[in-house]
Amino acid sequence: MVTDLFDVAILGAGPAGAAAAIEASRCRLNAILIDEQASAGGQVYRCAPGIDAAHADPDREEGNALREALSDADIERKFGYRVWHVEKAEAGFRLHALGPEGPVTITTKALVVATGALERYVPFLGWEQPGVMGLASATVLLKAQQMLPGRNVVVAGAGPLLYAVAKGIVEGGGQVAAVVDAQPRRAWWRHARELASRPDLVKRGYSWMRVLRSAGVTVLHRYALHSVVAYGRELRAIIAPIAADGSPQSGLTRYHVNCDAVCCGYGLMPDTYVTRLLGAAHVYDASLGGWHVVVDEDQRCDVPGLYAAGDVAGVVGAAAAPNQGRVAVLSIARDLRRLNDREFAWHAAADKRVRARAARFGKVMTQIARIGDGAIATLPPDVTMCVCERVQKATLETAIGDGCATINDLKRATRCGMGPCGGRLCEDAVARLVALKTSRSRAAIGQSTARPPLRPVGLDAIAGTFDYDALPMPVPAPL
């Protein structure tokens, strides 16, 4: 089915998208909100119907408040719908989606992309073993499913999520075999001023550390996963010391830890698939999580009618997201002439201020959630870099040696990134490898060309019912 023309379509119902939807209702714009999940909240406030938290959780409360506020909004909703293609149309944009009621085509004058962020993975030997998962994945299990990743878990990576997951496991009755933080303890104190802007979050962080200390959890700083191997029915993780640049450091203890799950992740990166598909300008900024879509101060992209809000425009965290969502919709209202310049400036001013303030803290969290390039440079040649297509580091290095200098080149030459995940797991690590081997900038190495479908969709499901005789077959080629 094809919808009527909306004023605005909002892609993603996380904190940015939900706030945008509420604002659209307030501005009396004809709006539609689309999200793949059954309810709003994105990843940060994700919940499952019928499952309630065992322990008090500020994120759960904020998520509930968001869903509550959204329920009053006078907008169309398409929850459980996967958007598989977005294209420009005469009136604006056309979105092709698939959901519980079948395929739907949504046409809209303006589009707010609020697709949030993806987790950044740094490969290690054995990361494709069952039992290994990301930190964001562990968060989904803990919070939305109220389930432990394991009974005795190694939690590794960098950034605040590391401690959030460890605390969640301990609180949930599990054991944390070790917290493995790539960053030194002092990494946090370097940013004391920005941290001070959010005393509530600092307090929360301290409470996590207290929980871990009481449980006697070992926290290793400047350590990283060397490898994970199957060990009977469980896993054995080797944890090794690293230098500031992420490469192995000799002279310090290596740990061999038996565990039944490993959770590992290195921060978030913007999910730019849709904005890339639409040809918007992107820029690489490590302090904002890597490649992100470029927006002006009114959340406009350089493609007419396209706006972006939340982490997709740079990973600055959930607190800075709702403000961006609101400013994006106010911009749309002004661009559609439902608001004049003065009204826009008045309504948007407060949100812009809050956005700037909140972003400062979020940016610090992003900067802490990283491991140096040495971690990738020193990976052994048989590490699988692209899990989907089982492409090893050695294959990539050979192709780079043969002259592959961009992500797209490597994709063509090795099939790396051509699997079902569309490069979402491996592209960042692979690009870092190219940068190390060729001394080219991330900007020169580029991103992979985005192609539909945005995620795999059933052929039958999107084709729908049709009449063969109604298929518009063009004139056959000359004989």
Binding site: Q145, Q146, M147, G150, V387, P456
Partner: protein, 96 residues
């Protein structure tokens, strides 16, 4: 029923049973197929001769990595985005 991985004290939906590769798997409404498999100790399965990434019940938990893809009613779906329900029949690879 492996209660160890499920956090005590959380409210869950009614108990259900679904089938995975011919075995009964206990779960609760609201859980995803991935999470329920995980709690039951089913962390991976054979893909047979099918090409693609090696399957595991959980990696990204967000419908991104596609490694948890399973077959339900002849179509392929992400287990981490599929809610359990009583009588659901899930296969790690297509029946052929």
């Amino acid at each position: 029923m492996d209660a160890d991985l499920r956090i005590r004290g959380a409210e869950r939906g009614p108990a259900v049973v679904f089938r995975f590769d011919g075995r009964d798997v206990p779960a609760f409404e609201g859980e995803t197929v991935s999470a329920a498999l995980w709690a039951s100790g089913i962390r991976s399965w054979s893909a047979g001769e099918m090409a693609g990434p090696p399957p595991r019940a959980l990696f990204c938990a967000m419908g991104v990595c596609q490694q948890c893809a399973v077959w339900i009613d002849g179509t392929r779906v992400e287990a981490c985005r599929t809610p359990v329900r009583a009588g659901l029949v899930v296969q790690g690879r297509p029946l052929w």
